[in-house]
Symmetry: C2
Subunit: 231 residues, 2 copies
DNA sequence: AACGGTGCTTGATCTGGATCAAGAAAACAG
DNA sequence: CTGTTTTCTTGATCCAGATCAAGCACCGTT
């Protein structure tokens, strides 16, 4: 197993502070795999045999019920999913599929649980991570329950602007997935983009440019307790 | 500080396995308080000075944005809120108010964080609790994104039936709050109850009776990955 | 270059759910 | 008990967003 990606994993907050010996033990049981696009990695209801770490590419977390499907989140390098199921050894609540060609590390769940119980620094990191995940989902719920679809899109665009650090950027996912993530249909997303034109949002293909961010913000009314996903 | 409620708290999974000395230290800094109905306990954006434990009564967790408000969850005895903010020392994402007269224990957050870092059993329990909270919110999101309001109500009724262990039970919250919790207006909740009559749901005031649970289940299609809040 | 496939857009229509308004029923205070 | 307030219900109307249908743009394949 090449040293290279182990360093990347070690750099993750989740693994940064743990004992060297324990980290090595975790990595000993782990292995890397390359997946083509659109491959189902895990499925709702499965047992969490592995903790997954995305090294490159991207992964879609989605859920289904009664023939309907909804995109819940996107996992980008370098981060893990789905920790909560692994830790409590309970069935996955979401399915995961690669969006593009992806390199993914698989760490046996039993190893994670075992080392969790003997490495306090690792335990501390897991708690921080879980609390963060929890807070993210709460923010997402507030977004869904308190805002209209137009407001959700406006705030999504402002968040992407912050992430990219520029008033011009490319969408990081295809529009049909964005629609599902925001809880709307592709048709309505198309119309919603049009609906934001009066606030200075220009869209061509997957390129977005914001004429006047303040103008857009006056409509979107972004709020750190919903939109700041770093805390 | 009377022994009585300390035993109740000790019985909580979160505190059950920790060292006696550490539990005592936690309780030494804690104090109990009685609150009348409809008192705001904490407010979004506040710093988490205390971990709250509900001994009696009930507490509504809700959120606001842009003049709108939505009920997110109800906390019933004996359980805690809001752990995630306390642990990571980050602002609350939700506000909390008493629904009825309630006895609540306040445990200083600094004590919780300090003892968390030196008591492995306590750390383990916190992880389990956080993972459970996380999974609950994910289930709630799936409920919201994958189901119509009528389906959400039908499944809510089936969940309450399971909890009460009977096909007849009383609603545990007023209808306007239930509506908000389910993501609909009070007017529409009223109509939704009517809409479930064909499936054998009878409502009079806050008393519900289900004529044929199987009939209702055929419509509601309950799913453990959304509706079973014990895992 | 022609092709099929897929995603995106646009228009027309439909519907679930929100809003507005008013009356009925409870809950509460004096 | 009585008047007041709040919740719940019902009806009428309105609107956001879903669905249906068709055309268009893009992209990799052969």
């Amino acid at each position: 197993m090449p040293e290279s990606y182990e360093e990347d994993i070690r750099a993750l907050e989740l693994f940064a502070e743990m004992e060297e010996a324990n980290f090595d033990a975790l990595m000993r049981g782990a292995y890397v795999q390359n997946f083509p696009p659109r491959i189902d990695l895990i499925h709702e209801e499965d047992r969490p045999d592995f903790l997954h770490v995305v090294l490159t590419g991207s992964v879609d977390l989605y859920s289904s019920w009664n023939g309907r499907e909804s995109s819940m989140a996107t996992v980008r390098p370098i981060s893990t999913f789905i920790l909560a199921a692994t830790i409590n050894d309970l069935p996955y609540l979401m399915s995961a599929r690669t969006l593009e060609r992806s390199r993914i590390v698989l760490v046996p769940s039993t190893d994670v649980r075992q080392i969790f119980s003997k490495d306090p620094a690792f335990a501390r990191a897991i708690v921080t991570e879980l609390a963060q995940c929890y807070r993210s989902v709460v923010k997402n719920t507030k977004d869904l329950k308190l805002r209209t679809s137009l407001e959700r899109l406006a705030n999504y665009i402002l968040r992407q602007q912050t992430l990219s650090g520029s008033t011009e950027f490319d969408l990081t996912m295809e529009k049909r997935r964005l629609a599902s993530f925001l809880g709307m249909t592709p048709e309505n997303l198309s119309r919603a983009f049009k609906g934001l034109e009066p606030y200075g949002v220009k869209v061509s293909s997957n390129h977005i440019s914001i004429v006047d961010p303040d103008d857009l913000a006056r409509f979107a009314k972004p709020n750190p307790l919903i939109d700041d996903h770093t805390t």
